[in-house]
Amino acid sequence: MPAVSKGDGMRGLAVFISDIRNCKSKEAEIKRINKELANIRSKFKGDKALDGYSKKKYVCKLLFIFLLGHDIDFGHMEAVNLLSSNKYTEKQIGYLFISVLVNSNSELIRLINNAIKNDLASRNPTFMCLALHCIANVGSREMGEAFAADIPRILVAGDSMDSVKQSAALCLLRLYKASPDLVPMGEWTARVVHLLNDQHMGVVTAAVSLITCLCKKNPDDFKTCISLAVSRLSRIVSSASTDLQDYTYYFVPAPWLSVKLLRLLQCYPPPEDAAVKGRLVECLETVLNKAQEPPKSKKVQHSNAKNAILFETISLIIHYDSEPNLLVRACNQLGQFLQHRETNLRYLALESMCTLASSEFSHEAVKTHIDTVINALKTERDVSVRQRAADLLYAMCDRSNAKQIVSEMLRYLETADYAIREEIVLKVAILAEKYAVDYSWYVDTILNLIRIAGDYVSEEVWYRVLQIVTNRDDVQGYAAKTVFEALQAPACHENMVKVGGYILGEFGNLIAGDPRSSPPVQFSLLHSKFHLCSVATRALLLSTYIKFINLFPETKATIQGVLRAGSQLRNADVELQQRAVEYLTLSSVASTDVLATVLEEMPPFPERESSILAKLKRKKGPGAASSLDDGRRDASSNDINGGVEPAPSTVSTPSPSADLLGLRAAPPPAAAPAPASAGNLLVDVFSDGPAAQPSLGPTPEEAFLSELEPPAPESPMGLLADPAPAADPGPEDISPPIPEADELLNKFVCKNNGVLFENQLLQIGVKSEFRQNLGRMYLFYGNKTSVQFQNFSPTVVHPGDLQTQLAVQTKRVAAQVDGGAQVQQVLNIECLRDFLTPPLLSVRFRYGGAPQSLTLKLPVTINKFFQPTEMAAQDFFQRWKQLSLPLQEAQKIFKANHPMDAEVTKAKLLGFGSALLDNVDPNPENFVGAGIIQTKALQVGCLLRLEPNAQAQMYRLTLRTSKEPVSRHLCELLAQQF
């Protein structure tokens, strides 16, 4: 029970909350809640009219249930009734319920608005405040339409109580933010500005927020607020710490109001009126001076409040960017914070200095702190602080310190957190390009990047180095020499192979004179990496080879041999095969002249914005772009690189990668209880012991699988090795599948591991992996009894045509399974062509002398051979149109069988095997996927689209594939998953 129960105790509510807290499991909680919901429903429906108190109590319970995360679909009417109660607490609960559970039910909104209207007109300040809070909490357009005109009147009325004015100001702010068009400007606006002079500090605090927001939209109408704000600020800043009584917070006078006033001033340029400006500068200086004074209290609240004002002051100084003296003082102050023992202050100082770095007045002052910042990058224990340090280094970089900063960032990259590596890579790449004095340094830096963090070097980065090398002939020889050396490392990153392949293909001739890098050496070096590379890289290398034939006629025979090899000419990958065939033919039929023309050196790339900069902007969001792209300081540096121009507007479209930054690493919550850090304020707070859920232990499924060793990944080549003859009894002598077989199979359409079957005797677990048209499945048979199974024989049966569609090879297992023991069976699977029915698994054994037999459907469905395919919206729609024959499309509209959760849906679609394509469907609620089904005989391209309709609890699923039965079959399989 609560230590304190203030005001009323709604005892029934307390009992209910206790009950919920005592529930040992989620199921028990749901049961208790359902019981309560039934009870409340019957009370609401009952003949006996409920008194206000009961109604309040039940509404409060419903609210509690909703806040636990359950859906509430009734009780709104009772809550609305409470609104018109003249008992304060009933009204209060009614408003709370409405605020939390708004419903766009128009009938209800009308009633709610009516109640609010009555309360606003009641002249009872407490009722008026409740009504205003409700409007501010809901803030919907309907409410705006009903009240936006009334609230300004209440706000400026001479007879409104202070508390009502405060609520009215912030209520109006909320409505204005939601629908600015509904709030009429007028005579009241002038009077709002004068609230800055109000005697009541609370009224000023609330009003400043409203005025700040209005200023941003109509700066000219509110200009008079500047002088009022300055004089208010000046009075606060110069007041003694006790003058403001309850508005003084830990010896700091009115910190919230001060911060808000400083924010308001940031809506405008420096005041034009000299007197006002002088007074303001005085204020800013006072704040900076106070920072140097000894603290009046050791409490962190004191220093936080004081520094909050200081940081806001610095923001204003940076915003004005016109007072060199103040800027440098601000910078020095932040410099002190860089070494402060409070992590929070170090973080904020780094962040704030980033903006100072872009001011011409303080750029040099910021640069003096370079060593401290580099040190922070190396030693800070908190990744978010390190990230700020990296940002600041990036912002303070110019030609004078570029080499130092780039080399420090490269060094940091070796140990950097995975979450920020890609961003650091981009920044290094940009700085290296922007401040390159000689291009050999640039080439070295980028190759170092690839060496240190190859996985995080995105395409943009290595494309860019190729562009620059192609465009500058002074660096081509050096680049060729450097990549050649880099490629000699025994293990080099695939991105290095790409860059190396491209550069040698273009400029390998520049180093061919040296016998250590003669054409055959270059070729064999590249070709030694060929087999380890992905398809895309191999395709690139094939192009390099044909370029070699042109550059170095002496390599022609060797290269033709490579192209002619079966592994190229008959490669399963269409692209590789096509390149091999075409290049081979080209090299045999074309004359040297033709070859030389076709394979001429690439022309220079058109200069445009660095694609890397564009990518960094995308990652940071459009807002951050301007601060990164500070062309201000070194317009001159752009010309040698010819690249860095303001972003075209297309850059601001959020790309999928923009989201990636949002997905900061979120490891599971640390379980280790840290010592309670409460100060003297809350010493008796005790930890919430009973609320901890008893650990239920692993579910049977997990426990089962956790005993298994995961199969080591193997190359597809090895998958079919060591086949055992399948003892394949004809379909006629096995029993039909058990009734649940279909249901069990459905469980595995979107996942590969789990418990396939379980009864009192036997548990069958599955673990499987599929690659292209091959698969390997591990079946685990667990004897749950204490008695040995005899004649244990699991076999796989191919009904109907399946034999020609799917090859499954099984290994025999021991005929005896001891009580409590588990045996494992390995199945090698090859998909020969598309198939519709799954193979059957027949398990027979004798248990205690009695024959047992069981037939299941083996969880091998056609989608297991899906290979996800990424493609852009344009490509998707092009292919979608190509598959427009009526039979190629299958569509199903069906009711949701599970709660409609976007995350779960995503996981299922990915589990199904297709790639999920973002930004294809104009409706973000919809899901679009693509993939290729790999079979030995043919490939089937598949496109899918899933449209959830949450309101109707329905889905529409559409599949288009190049093969009619596949569309239908996939559609049926997938439709059962939601």
Binding site: A3, S5, L67, L96, S163, Q166, S167, A254, S384, F686
Partner: protein, 153 residues
């Protein structure tokens, strides 16, 4: 603003921008995970999507606010602290259980302090005056009901 326990149980949620229930649940899950994963000595601020998160732990409870890019982190930290002080003064040495059993009061106090996401009244006295007035009204009403004996369900 979110309040949640060390075990990740949500104790109070206040949203100042319109979002669907689904989004709210998703954001809550994400934030709770992110914040709980942080170590005690780390800084109280972090970037999250295009917002900044300011959080502080008081005994078993985490208080967590999402603010916009331009907003002041330190003053937000003190908003959290002032709210804790208000709860503490009202309940008299507040603990997590007070907030669980009197969740409606925690919401009422918050509404008096913050409205529409902005600070409305920073004076402790003025905020609590409003709430205590309401309690007085309530107690006199309870007497009219002559005890609470039939009030079990």
């Amino acid at each position: 603003m979110l309040l949640f326990s060390r075990q990740g149980k949500l104790r109070l949620q206040k949203w100042y921008v319109p979002l669907s229930d689904k989004e709210k649940k998703k954001i809550t899950r994400e934030l709770v995970q992110t914040v709980l994963a942080r170590k005690p000595k780390m800084c109280s601020f972090l970037e999250w999507r295009d917002l900044k998160i300011v959080y502080k732990r008081y005994a078993s409870l985490y208080f967590c606010c999402a603010i916009e890019d331009q907003d002041n982190e330190l003053i937000t930290l003190e908003i959290i602290h002032r709210y804790v002080e208000l709860l503490d003064k009202y309940f008299g040495s507040v603990c997590e259980l007070d907030i669980i059993f009197n969740f409606e009061k925690a919401y009422f106090i918050l509404d008096e302090f913050l409205l529409g996401g902005e600070v409305q009244e920073t004076s402790k006295k003025n905020v609590l005056k409003a709430i205590e007035q309401a309690d007085l009204l309530q107690e006199s009403q309870n007497e009219e009901w002559g005890g609470l004996s039939e009030d079990i369900l």
